[in-house]
């Protein structure tokens, strides 16, 4: 009993530390004890004189030229990352779609072990999380960091080594999983022997980005930089610590598992998505974010609260009560950083709604930013014991995961790709109308996906809580919703194919944008 009390005390302590840290930060900002980022700092993303007009997708932007040397320097690394990311997006989507079909057509692909649901689903997760979202996010990082620091991306050779290692490791990893060689923990399936290659690849990204930050030509680090620079440190630490073999077993391993898995979302994919949105929303619109000081609270509150929510995946399970309560409390506290980010990003977009018509990339990114708010609110509520008891072991969780990782992170990154590629290659998208088709296929497909699994999941959970209903009821009632998910997932995948077609076609396009930019400079 002694030890339980001690740990109960620790729980209270953790919460008090987090709350205290946040209070001190707010006090410091209010009393100007720290340098409070102000409107001038928020304008560091613009060149002097820039920011009067939107960054149109179909003509060169005047201020690209001021940075063209920087963009040109990072463009090959960024394009490598984007090409690899889109490959894994397609590969992962096809596996996701196949896994989805298998759940309502179980005898469709049961001929080989490689195609069984348990493996297809796992290849899907690893492909989209580590292949698509991580590399898409890194592409945005390698594009944005040199721009906000006004200096060339450093050690591009090392970055390319990192990209090659990461993709070799990932390919070996998904091949291993498909053939039954797995570490057997969710989000950590890739065998630790192969993880060594991935860890080496991830490590190659740290030094170049720190070196670029050290050599910056601006005093202030723009908010996207906080998220990115923290994220590129958090992820390698998480990945390496979680994959060290032989340290944990049993329930200890389960708490480690969810510490890792939720932090991959909270301290890696979320910073990538939020940081990207924080740069591109004001940059494309041409106006700084609404309340820059608020972004500081948003960032540190995210770090403090998000890092401790993971054990809500084990609510009602064989883990100490204090630990579950700790994660539930921190999940609810996530309202703080999310509201801070929401005010900043949504008010900026809402006061410039006309820009959504002009820029498809902005439309993707703003939609994703709104989904971040919704996914986080949903996550906070889902962690409450009374709600979680219904949703915990159901497809409701899958819908929630896709609201965060797909509708938020993936759509932001797709928007970033549509914005970056023309500027990195000096070419226009060959099929601009296909971008709009991609957007609507994803939005409609995701809506079908999300509502199917959300409603199905709630019904599944309620049926399983009802002792008078046999377990079979919860499976039978779910089938139409699983079919709905396949339909939605099919539309989403189709959207991704359109992105891939545009990306391949741009490789063969003429450098019209570059020529126009040169003419523009010459005319001035």
């Amino acid at each position: 009993m002694q030890i339980t009390e001690t740990l109960g005390l620790l729980l209270a302590l953790s919460f008090v530390i987090s709350l205290l840290a946040l209070t001190i930060l707010i006090w410091a900002i209010a009393n100007k004890q720290v340098h409070t980022p102000d409107a001038d700092d928020a304008r560091t993303i613009f060149e002097p004189g820039e920011g009067a007009d939107i960054d149109y997708p179909d003509k060169p932007h005047h201020f690209d030229t001021a940075r063209s040397g920087i963009d040109a320097n990072s463009s090959s690394v960024v394009m490598w990352l984007i090409a690899a990311a889109v490959f894994w997006l397609i590969y992962g989507s096809l596996h996701g779609l196949a896994a989805s079909l298998e759940l309502h057509l179980p005898d469709l692909m049961s001929g080989t072990a490689q195609m069984t649901f348990g493996r297809m689903r796992t290849v899907h997760l690893n492909s989209v999380a580590y292949g698509w979202a991580s590399q898409g996010g890194l592409a945005a990082v390698c594009w944005i960091i040199p721009r906000i620091f006004r200096t060339n991306l450093r050690m591009t050779g090392l970055l390319k080594v990192g990209i090659v290692l990461w993709n070799i490791g990932l390919a070996a990893g998904v091949l291993a999983i498909a053939n039954g060689w797995t570490d057997g923990l969710e989000w950590l399936e890739i065998p630790w022997q192969i993880d060594i290659i991935l860890a080496a690849g991830a490590a190659c990204f740290v030094a170049p980005l720190i070196a670029t930050a050290k050599n910056r030509n601006v005093h202030h680090i723009y908010v996207s930089g906080w998220y990115f620079l923290a994220g590129v440190l958090w992820f390698p630490v998480l990945f390496i610590v979680a994959n060290i073999p032989g340290v944990h077993h049993g329930v200890e391993q389960a708490t480690m598992n969810w510490w890792y898995a939720h932090n991959v979302l909270g301290l890696w994919l979320t910073p990538l998505g939020v940081g990207t949105a924080y740069y591109f929303i004001p940059k494309i619109i041409g106006k700084p974010v609404y309340s820059y000081a608020l972004s500081l609270v948003g960032f540190w509150a995210l770090a403090l609260f998000y890092s401790q929510v993971g054990i809500h995946h084990l609510i009602g399970g064989p883990v100490p009560t204090w630990l579950v309560t700790l994660s539930v409390v921190h999940s609810v506290m996530m309202f703080v950083p999310v509201i801070a980010v929401a005010i900043n990003q949504h008010v900026t977009v809402a006061s410039n709604l006309w820009a959504l018509k002009e820029s498809m990339p902005l439309r993707f990114i703003s939609f994703g930013a709104v989904m971040y708010t919704l996914a986080s609110f949903q996550g906070s509520i889902e962690a409450l014991r009374s709600v979680n008891t219904i949703t915990h072991f159901t497809h409701y969780t899958v819908a929630h995961a896709h609201l965060g990782a797909y509708a938020f992170v993936s759509l932001v990154l797709m928007g970033a790709i549509y914005q970056i590629v023309p500027r990195a290659t000096g070419k226009y998208w060959p099929f601009p109308r296909m971008i709009a088709w991609h957007f609507w296929l994803n939005v409609i497909g995701f809506a079908v996906y999300f509502f199917s699994l959300t409603i199905g999941g709630i019904l599944q959970g309620l049926a399983q809580l009802d002792a008078t209903k046999p377990f079979a009821d919860s499976v039978i009632l779910l089938k139409p919703y699983l079919e709905g998910r396949s339909l939605g997932g099919g539309l989403m995948t189709l959207g991704h194919v359109l992105l891939a077609i545009n990306l391949i076609a741009i490789g063969f396009a003429k450098k019209t944008r570059e020529t126009e930019t040169e003419n523009m400079v010459a005319a001035e």
């Binding site: 080989t112 072990a113 348990g118 630490v237 009602g316 399970g317």
Partner: protein
Amino acid sequence: MNRYLPLAITALAILALATLFLVIAPGMQISAQGPSQGLKPYTEAEARGRAVYVSMGCLYCHSQQPRSLAQAPDAERGWGRASVAGDYAYDDPHQLGTMRTGPDLMDIGDRLPSQAWQLTHLYQPRAIASWSIMPAYPYLFEHKDKAGPDDVVVKLPAQYAPKSGVIVAKQDALDLVTYLQGMKRQYAPPKDGLRDNGYALIAEKQRDATDATTASN
């Protein structure tokens, strides 16, 4: 924020704090408990079967963590008593799971002990339950003209049986079933077993409140 080093140090310190609370502290508390009395280590065949379970990804549809009666009717479904941390002392990798597309399997060895049933169900789940959406695992079995002396023949209804010959279980299928048969968690849990008692505490508080209201009436 204008400086990189303080940012990096604070960010990593926050992660270290989270690791202390989510991994190190509970890890110490859990390992101090040790295995539950009555829990046996896996036999060699069970361990091989468990490896098949892990490699097929059974985890993604089946949990291994019955909830308490204060929260859910898991025990009434025959899924076993609420599990505690010590029940998993020999599990590596853990297979607690987060999804119940299929039922919980923590106590499957008590609920469905028949080898014949398990083999038929693994070969073709719909031979047993038409509504099932579980994958079939035909590659864990072999189609033979005639069963050998040591072969375990799978019993199948005509609809799913081969036109000629028999379906026999490969070693992987036999091991997997041995593992499932060994999943028995009926022994009494330790008195100080660790688990999330949040729901029991809430139920207790509600009962106290109702009692108080009844008493004051």
